[in-house]
């Protein structure tokens, strides 16, 4: 191995991480600050913004709506994603390349374009916007992550296990239930948790597809910023951040390396 980087390297990395984290830390810190204005010095610890938040019916409703969207999105994305991954398993590499590209496209094209296109589509076919349409939009955005995760997990499945089971007389169903699914379980859980975190904190698609009457927490934040900016928003944002971080951390722990490097191309996985 070559020379390791010394302390200057790690000092630089510490700076980078400080840059990455200070905005979120700032949001949380000011959610506990007594003052109404965002400025240093801090004016002392207070829970008033959380109390104000808990007393607002519209906030509680938005929290409920966020769950109404995120939970079904999670279930649907995992089911659809796993089905696709199964179909891709053992598939010819040329078709796989096409699928790869198709899957990545929703991740690369700005969400704004998908959101307005979906809005036009729903309007053109007179489909009312609401929880169902937001769920639909989120399923489109998150299914690719599940497919990528489960795909990567498929590659670490030892093919001889399948052969051995078959040789011992196991049928397809037994192989799927007893060998493949248990092997995929961490990827399914991690994919579900990542999907939940994305859906729970997604703004743009929800904003365009909510049609006014159905605010999720991020949409609620957005309208508060425009109508009545105050540290109440810090409290909402801290809640979203806390929930999402917990979900993502759990996904990382359960999913391991696959979850961490979710965009990793398959040929890399094979080369390892």
């Amino acid at each position: 191995m070559g020379r390791r980087v010394g302390w200057p390297g790690f000092a630089y990395l510490a700076l980078i991480y400080a840059f990455l984290y200070f905005p979120a830390v700032l949001v949380v810190v000011f959610s506990f600050n007594r003052s109404r204005v965002w400025a240093f010095p801090l004016k002392g610890f207070a829970l008033r913004w959380y109390e104000e938040l808990a007393a607002r019916p519209d906030a509680l409703n938005a929290a409920k709506n966020s769950l109404i969207v995120a939970l079904p999105t999670t279930v649907l994305s995992v089911l659809i994603g796993v089905a696709v991954a199964f179909a891709l398993h053992h598939w010819g590499s040329r078709l796989k390349g096409v699928m790869d590209g198709a899957l990545l496209l929703p991740l690369l094209i700005p969400h704004l374009i998908w959101a307005v296109a979906l809005l036009l589509f729903l309007t053109a076919f007179a489909i009312p916007t609401g929880a169902a349409t937001v769920i639909l939009g989120h399923v489109l955005l998150t299914t690719p992550y599940v497919v990528l995760l489960v795909n990567a997990r498929f590659h670490s499945l030892d093919p001889s296990l399948e052969d051995a089971a078959r040789g011992l007389g196991a049928g397809s169903r037994v192989i799927v239930v007893r060998i493949i699914l248990p092997h995929l379980a961490p990827a399914l859980l991690a994919g579900g948790l990542i999907t939940f975190a994305i859906s729970f904190s997604e703004l743009v698609v929800a904003y365009f597809l909510t049609g006014g009457g159905f605010d999720t927490l991020p949409v609620f934040i957005y309208s508060l910023i425009q109508l009545e900016p105050s540290p109440v928003i810090n409290a909402v944002a801290s809640v979203i951040f806390g929930v999402a971080v917990l979900a993502i951390l759990a996904a990382m722990v359960i999913g391991g390396r696959d979850a961490l490097l979710v965009g990793k191309r398959e040929r890399d996985a094979r080369a390892e």
Binding site: G2, R4, V5, G9, Y12, L13, P23, A24, L26, V27, W38, A39, F40, A83, V84, F86, A87, L88, W91, L105, P106, L108, I109, P110, H111, L112, I113, W114, V116, A117, L118, L119, L120, F121, A124, L136, V139, L140, T143, V147, S172, I194, A197, S201, I221, Y222, I233, N234, A237, S238, I240, A247, I248, L249, M252, R257, L260, L261, G263, A271
Partner: protein, 285 residues
């Protein structure tokens, strides 16, 4: 070895295929169709006209904002490479036991907090923002400083912060599997560290750099939340112009034409960058 049948495979892929066709491809076609229509207030007439596109090219403002947005996205991408490459390098050279921890630390904010971090930058900037108020209360400034108001620098700083993990990750992946024996061999043959870096490490990690540029450039060029929150009147981006047409301006047909323009430009950029990446990978692997 017996494999799952074609029928089973088709059935499994069906939900996703239907979903992605109906709700991604068809909406894009609807978007394209509406870009040739006219709309007055919320009333859309499905005529065929090039009026929206003519308006786009006639009123210079729109083209200028589109070019500005592409410029901002390019600038952000280049800065991210400069900031992110050393970070990816340090993570890749870290002891193996610590690497996963560092990667988790890197990627968690990306998934967990787009809105939260965008909001944080909103509270930082502005005449009454955290930075200006704090500077004034500490006596470091007498009135709000222009750099820290809602403006293009604020947009760039925020985008840099939001998309950094997406640049570091792919660069890290190429550095991780780089064969260090090549570097050692070069050093053994008398190459200076910088020479070895530019002749070996940099060319071999270029595919990762291009992948990072793709992941950063595309969403930044079309971003709407960030310019809306911290751009003010001087940090206008194309995404916000599109959103305005679908919001307060209520000109859906023109908004569709703007969205189609952005989509076409971005797909061209994606095509170029992907081809570049493939060429680089082909040359060095």
């Amino acid at each position: 070895m017996k494999r799952i049948t074609t029928t089973a495979r088709a059935v499994l892929a069906l939900p996703a295929a239907v979903l992605f066709t109906i709700f991604l491809i068809v909406p894009l076609l609807v978007l394209l169709r509406y870009s040739f229509a006219t709309s007055e207030r919320l009333q859309i007439s499905l005529v065929w006209t090039l009026g929206n596109y003519k308006q786009f090219f006639k009123e210079r403002m729109y083209l200028e904002i589109l070019l500005t947005s592409l410029g901002v996205a390019s600038l952000v991408s280049v800065l991210e490479v400069l900031i992110g490459f050393p970070a990816a390098w340090v993570i890749a050279r870290a002891p193996e036991a610590r690497r996963n921890f560092l990667l988790i630390l890197l990627i968690v904010p990306w998934w967990a907090s787009y809105v939260v971090r965008a909001f944080a930058w909103y509270t930082l900037f502005g005449n009454n923002g955290l930075i200006n108020r704090t500077l004034i209360s500490w006596g470091l400034a007498e009135r709000p400083l222009a750099v820290f108001t809602f403006s293009m620098p604020a947009v760039i700083a925020t985008e840099l912060n939001l998309f950094l993990p997406l640049m570091v990750m792919p660069i890290y992946m190429t550095l991780e599997k780089l064969d260090w024996n090549l570097v050692l061999a070069a050093r053994g043959l008398g190459a200076r560290p910088w020479y070895a870096f530019f002749k070996i490490v940099l060319p071999l990690s270029l595919p990762g750099v291009v992948a990072g540029v793709i992941l950063v450039f595309m969403p930044v060029a079309g971003s709407f939340v960030v310019p809306d929150l911290v751009g003010g009147t001087r940090g206008l981006m194309f995404g916000k112009v599109i959103a305005t047409q679908f919001g307060t301006a209520s000109n859906w047909a023109f908004g569709s034409a703007l969205a189609v323009m952005l989509l076409v430009v971005l797909l061209l950029a994606l095509n170029l960058l992907t081809r570049l990446r493939e060429r680089i990978s082909g040359e060095f692997y």
